[in-house]
Symmetry: C2
Subunit: 402 residues, 2 copies
């Protein structure tokens, strides 16, 4: 059942030293922002600090809390059912627990005590409140915690976590590199495996099985969209639409190894591409080249966007409706920064980014002209003097399924 070409072998471990360095950097930023403690409840932030690696996050009846004090090691408050997993995957020693679910008090008394014990001169706590954050606990409970500690202020703590998480360690890069390699290999097997007559759903399933066979853990995001002469949007499907000659299929996946994501897409022309598709593909491919060439330390994200927009033309970019042309990847499918004309983030070594140009174009479909989009995507790791590809570059001409 397992394929012979599984891509595995040991990955560098996350050492306790690495976690302590992370906590140290968080505490430096907390001092600048005058925070007595930082409350982390989302899977990505909780895992980043504690190492806790567990699938229980899909169970909303059981929230988890990590409190980073201004000094010293974090405190974790989590359900009894997670105690064994905590012991096996985390370095954190101060672990407090309750029998969840207990809607009347799902760890709230313990959490308030932990936060109160951290109160210092600032009377100010950080929590995941800002852009792109989600709180991993019921908001009603958060408001109760805030009320119980109403002599203290709650400020956003998500931005400082995002800023630190943007720069990846070698162990983090290794995981994104691994899943990008697995995904590249799985995509490259698809032109042989896909058939005219497959549905979008079957095509996506073939990729997902190929990913698992090669060593991927999960594919939380795996879409397929298709249409005659192109697709109307990305972020669709897969549906039971049957793929026919003249169709273009895009498959885009965010898959993971050990919690770390890749995020890129590939396209397939069924029965060979028409001229409009060929031209659009070539233009977006060149824009991807320009984007990759523009990624280097010291550049701003907005400049990478500009480099791609120049190849594509302003109108075609506007029409693609994608809103940005890339973003960070890591413990989440999309993380800050954004490759966006208004994102002035300065690129640094250790960032992992998607380069994702897109355009709209008109395809003659037989039933008249239709507006289509085309989006390419690659993943890169920023180095000291430029960047290196994590994904294996898409071919300069669209893959053909015949």
């Amino acid at each position: 059942m397992m394929s012979t070409d599984v891509i595995d072998g040991p990955l560098p471990v996350f050492t306790t030293e690495e976690y302590r360095r992370r906590v140290g950097r968080i505490q430096e930023r907390m001092a600048l922002e005058r925070l007595d403690a930082l409350l982390l409840t989302s899977e990505a932030n909780f895992r980043y600090v504690t190492g806790f690696n567990n699938q229980s996050w899909v169970n909303l009846a059981r929230p988890r809390y990590c409190v980073v004090p201004a000094d010293g090691d974090p405190i974790v408050v989590l359900p009894q059912t997670n105690i064994v997993a905590m012991r096996e995957t985390s370095w954190v020693e101060d672990v407090r627990t309750w029998p969840a679910p207990r809607p009347a008090d799902d760890g709230i008394t313990l959490l308030v005590d932990a936060l109160r014990g951290c109160l210092g001169s600032h009377h100010r706590f950080g929590a995941e409140l800002g852009p792109e954050s989600r709180l991993g606990m019921p908001v009603g409970d958060f408001l109760r915690v805030r009320d119980a500690l109403r002599h203290a202020e709650f400020a956003d703590g998500a931005a400082l976590m995002s800023a630190l998480r943007m720069i990846k360690s070698p162990a983090e890069v290794a995981r994104c590199r691994r899943i990008a390699e697995i995904t590249s290999t799985a995509f490259e097997a698809l032109p042989e495996a896909l058939r005219v007559g497959d549905t979008e759903r079957i095509a996506c399933r073939k990729l997902q099985i190929a990913l698992l066979q090669r060593g991927a853990d999960k594919s939380p995001y795996l879409i397929g969209a298709s249409g005659r002469g192109g697709y109307a949007a990305i972020n669709l499907g897969p549906t039971d639409r049957v793929l026919e000659r003249g169709d273009v299929l895009i498959i885009d996946t965010g898959s993971t190894v050990d919690g770390y994501f890749c995020d890129f897409d590939r396209e397939f022309a069924f029965g060979g591409p028409c001229d409009e598709v060929r031209r659009a593909y070539e233009r977006v491919w060149r824009a991807t080249e320009a984007g990759i060439a523009a990624v280097r330390p010291g550049r701003r994200c907005s400049e990478v966007w500009q480099a791609m927009a120049e190849v594509l033309g302003a109108e075609a970019v506007r029409g693609s409706n994608v809103g940005r042309m890339g973003h960070g990847i890591g413990l989440l499918l999309t993380e800050p920064p954004s490759i966006h004309p208004e994102d002035a983030t300065v690129i640094e070594a250790g960032m992992l980014l998607t380069v994702e140009p897109g355009i709209s174009f008109t395809a003659r479909t037989g039933s008249g002209d239709e507006r289509k989009v085309m989006v390419h995507e690659e993943n890169v790791a920023v180095t000291e003097d430029g960047c290196v590809l994590l994904s294996r570059r898409a071919p300069p001409e669209i893959w053909v399924v015949d």
Copy 2:
């Protein structure tokens, strides 16, 4: 690549009438709770009302809002990138949009306008604030919305949604039944496919591939835990631990078809079970029988718990640390109610429940006595006079891998 025994065929569609009935029931409860509008931001609630079916929820840079007014159709506010998916999967016509990500105003002005337009005599809105809820937008943005509408009160709206969602329609039951059937068949293929020497990770991967080949869409939850003479906890792994003779492996999965979950587990004895494992398995199997027999309309969840606890013994139940012995399933892996001694929810026809007894026991492992747990799980649909199995019943003796 596809297996021949794929379990597919058309599922009953969700009609606009069904969505309108849902909205009608929500509005009845809103009237009782004196809500001028209900704000829904989580994937499950948003999809339940609008039908919007899309994988974009993993992208936290792009929140979505559904406003259910006291009368009339819902209003949706969502990113431009979701417009095509909205048109293709939802019946809702009032759709308002902005180019996300735009951290300074990610739909907030549009959302405040939509809520303000619903203001009525109650000056009271519902939002996802209560137990087991998660808000699908940054809390900072929610607090800004609350502040912009500070002449109105925000109360919990999650409980009324959970109460309605507990009772499934035939189209919902069909989806849970389908994924439970796929998962049963995939599990039944495992005793042949597993090998002494597999790792937990490989064993889980074999199941995940078998699930995909039979027609599952996703496996957001798929854990494997093992040990000599039993496992120390569920909710672990899978790890690279190698499975040897004398080991017991549990695999538990929440997989989906069209967004709807099953949630059950199966166990495997490598090289045949020892006496303690055999006895523990038999006891938990009988408790599952007692639990299934106890599920019928009019009973309380706490009574189903009692029926299982009587077979298991109070001490063994306490030791299992699982906190409850079942829960609802549907658009989420775990939903209310809980099969818990303190959950007095009265069971009704149309509920989908897991029956999930667990105990702790002592296994002689060669290196001394060790505390192990054993948990079984089945999925049932409550009928007018009892319940029917959705999962195919686990065998009365543990599966052996040799």
